[in-house]
């Protein structure tokens, strides 16, 4: 960012307000979400996508290669499609076979590369990748819609719009791995390249390319092209479980960067004294889009559906008095937002995403501040009293739970022996709590506070004697400068639902149509409404896509 042109800003919303599970669990994608940023970067860098290899048989089994040029580098998605029996089609991480498997390759693969990867990539976690491979993924067909689309094309017609709208994707990814997993390239090896420097950008590029592959596969089997408008609305599904949740706890400064950017964007937008009549009209149009999106968003889970219905009603009431002239009045946006203080977190988060959407010229430069390679570092020269003061000022949220009561630590996180995946257990009903994964930041902070002398003892000496507190001590020290670094909740308590963490992280990815299946896992749609490969630079991405 050029400091001389930094827009005015209001104070950011306090972390005690932003970083609660209740708010994380209702977050919406914004124009700063990673998929949206990727689309702008692809356009700015004039990326070109080609399909140099399409080797599919009449059943749609074989392989394909898509290459994208980006700032002097070429990346290739290699897709392997195979037969999968219905009884083997599972979205679980413990599955061992999928309809399709993918790898994002650094460069253009030669036949030897493809032969090697054909043996490894379909195995997923059981395979072994190398430094030329950046991302590994797999997907299963959304069988009903996939078959409907193919059947319709074969019959010489387009698929039914209501079926397209109801599902919204032809395949569903069940994992997207990067950063060294199973031998993949380290992110550090490419994170300074233009176009791939943002968080999860290589993964998002992979997902977007997979979406194009699913369109091509359906057209190949159907023997006719899909209508362009239908293809735009066909994103890529994703099933996400507990594996994603610990990331938010284990990367505190990165999370702080994500939330700081979003909150700064909101503060910049609300700081405008007036907006133009065109901008006001744009906001009115976006409000209608949001209403249409909410109207089309239905899920099976009763509690989640009740939340969507409540949000529909709240949004309708919020929009009832909106018109372009009132929005163009002095301080209209900040006053509008102040009026939401007593409203639901869900309405506030939708409204935040809505106002941010309309002011790309104020906020888009922030997108490239979302990557942070930093970690909390111990300020060893501090005294114990100084750290106690920081905890008093910034850690009150961790002091509220009474960890002597069973309900406040009823759950424990662990890594399963079965598949090395994160899981959540019941501490007083299941074995293994003594091996729990340390995602208990609130409890650690509370314990540190209980043992920390409130005197001038050098902190390093205290921690040398009590090393069990050293990890959370440096996290606590980071809070004054990184207020959004911690999810301000006790993740062990009975009520703490991982689904809220998943929703927050997926919203940063740009996911829409959250469809929670339990408190532990959700389905979402990615890349719906984004430009197609041949529309890069000529078409805007949809904020909340409707059909």
């Amino acid at each position: 960012m050029d400091g001389s042109h930094t827009p005015a800003t209001l104070p950011l919303r306090p972390a005690d307000e932003v970083m609660t599970l209740a708010r994380l669990g209702v977050m919406q994608p914004t124009r700063l979400s990673f998929l949206r940023v990727l689309m702008r970067d692809l356009a700015r860098m004039e990326a070109q996508v080609t399909r140099p290899i399409w080797s599919m048989d009449a059943k749609g089994h074989g392989h394909a290669v898509y290459s994208v040029t980006l700032a002097g580098h070429t990346y290739s998605l290699i897709a392997f499609s195979r037969h999968l029996a219905d009884e083997d089609r599972s979205d679980r991480v413990i599955a061992t076979a999928w309809d399709a498997a993918f790898v994002l390759f650094d460069g253009v693969p030669v036949p030897d590369d493809i032969a090697r990867l054909a043996a490894e990539v379909p195995q997923q976690e059981a395979g072994r990748l190398g430094p030329k491979e950046l991302v590994l993924s797999r997907a299963n067909k959304s069988v009903r819609l996939f078959n409907h689309v193919v059947d319709a094309l074969r019959a010489g017609r387009q698929p039914e719009p209501d079926q397209i709208a109801a599902t919204g994707y032809l395949m569903r990814t069940t994992a997207v791995y990067g950063n060294g997993k199973f031998g993949l390239s380290d992110r550090a090896a490419y994170c300074d390249r233009p176009g791939l420097s943002g968080p999860f950008t290589a993964e998002m590029l992979t997902v977007w390319l997979i979406r194009g592959f699913t369109h091509d596969l359906a057209e190949h089997l159907g023997g006719a092209p899909l209508d362009r408008r239908i293809k735009r609305h066909l994103g890529i599904g994703n099933a996400t479980g507990l594996g994603m949740a610990p990331f938010l706890v284990s990367h505190p400064l990165l999370i702080d960067a994500w939330f700081s950017v979003k909150e700064t964007a909101l503060a910049r937008v609300l700081a405008q004294e007036t907006i133009s009549s065109d901008e006001a009209a744009r906001l009115v149009e976006l409000a209608k889009q949001a209403a249409a999106y909410l109207a089309s968003w239905s899920v099976a889970d009763a509690d989640a559906m009740a939340g969507i219905e409540a949000l529909r009603a709240d949004w309708d009431a919020f929009c009832a008095g909106l018109d372009a002239s009132s929005l163009a009045a002095p301080s209209a946006l900040s006053l509008l937002f102040a009026g939401l203080e007593c409203q639901s977190c869900a309405l506030q988060e939708l409204a935040a995403a809505w106002v941010i959407e309309a002011f790309g010229h104020l906020v888009d430069d922030l997108a490239h501040c979302q990557a942070s390679p930093r970690r909390p570092e111990l300020d060893a020269a501090m005294t114990c009293a100084e750290l106690a003061q920081i905890i008093s000022d910034h850690g009150a949220w961790a002091m509220k739970p009474d960890f002597d009561t069973e309900a406040q630590h009823a759950q424990f996180w662990y890594v399963s022996e079965e598949k090395l995946e994160p899981r959540l257990g019941r501490r007083f009903e299941e074995p293994g709590a003594e091996l729990e994964t340390p995602l208990d930041t609130a409890r650690q902070l509370s314990a540190l506070c209980g043992d920390l002398p409130d005197d001038d003892t050098p902190l390093w000496q205290f921690l040398a004697a009590r090393p069990e507190h050293r990890a959370v001590a440096r996290r606590a020290q980071a809070l004054p400068s990184h207020p959004y670094a911690e999810v301000r909740a006790n993740m062990l308590c009975e009520e703490a639902a991982p689904i809220h963490l998943l929703r927050a992280k997926l919203s940063f990815f740009g996911a829409t149509r959250f469809d929670p299946k339990s408190r532990l896992w959700t389905r979402v749609t990615l890349a719906q409404g984004l430009p197609l490969a041949d529309e890069i630079g000529t078409r805007e991405a949809a904020w909340l896509p409707t059909f």
Partner: protein
């Protein structure tokens, strides 16, 4: 094709916890070796972890510094670096068990504290220097399989057999043909 640094970091973190290291010490070890170490450092880390966790014990040598007797790298190096960052002038590490880990730990801490390191036989003397952040290494690890096996066995100590209840609730349905 070797091992990616990020996967070695994840493995070391779990192995460190499995060996009984406090969380921050496991974190420091995993970052130091994965970002600034080589195959020798990784092998030394595996050997040190297999020896288990021994808390750091040091004595105030004089007003100029502290000394660790029979220094265990896994526990002493984080404390030594903290002490130097807190402007303790000199730290002695006597009979250090894994000297291959000194350079990675100092490199990992180089942005917050500069350290000059000298050694004579098995005693290392660390003194404050000018901070100068060192860039992480990029080449991949190619350790002997025995090193990976050792680390994997230690990491496995943190794994819990899944219960049917948690397995049922951890992800999607068994069959997903919708």
């Amino acid at each position: 094709m070797g091992w990616a640094r990020a996967e070695i970091q994840a493995l070391l973190l779990r192995a460190g916890r499995g060996a009984g290291l406090p969380l921050s010490h496991a974190e420091d070890l995993s970052i130091a070796v994965a970002e600034h170490g080589d195959n020798a450092a990784l092998e030394a880390a595996a050997t040190a972890l297999a020896d288990g966790w021994t808390p750091a014990r040091f004595e105030q040598k004089d007003e100029l510094g502290i000394a660790f007797k029979d220094a265990r790298a896994l526990s002493a190096l984080p404390v030594a670096i903290d002490a130097l960052a807190a402007r303790v002038p000199k730290v002695e590490l006597r009979d250090l068990d894994a000297p291959e880990l000194v350079a990675p730990f100092l490199a990992a801490a180089s942005a917050r504290v500069g350290v000059d390191a000298r050694h004579s036989d098995k005693t290392w003397v660390l003194t404050g220097g000018n901070p100068s952040a060192q860039s992480p290494k990029r080449d991949r690890f190619n350790p002997p399989q025995s090193v990976i096996d050792t680390l994997s066995e230690l990491a496995a100590r943190t794994y819990v057999p899944a219960s049917s209840a948690s397995r049922d609730g951890a992800g999607a349905g068994t069959i997903d043909n919708d």
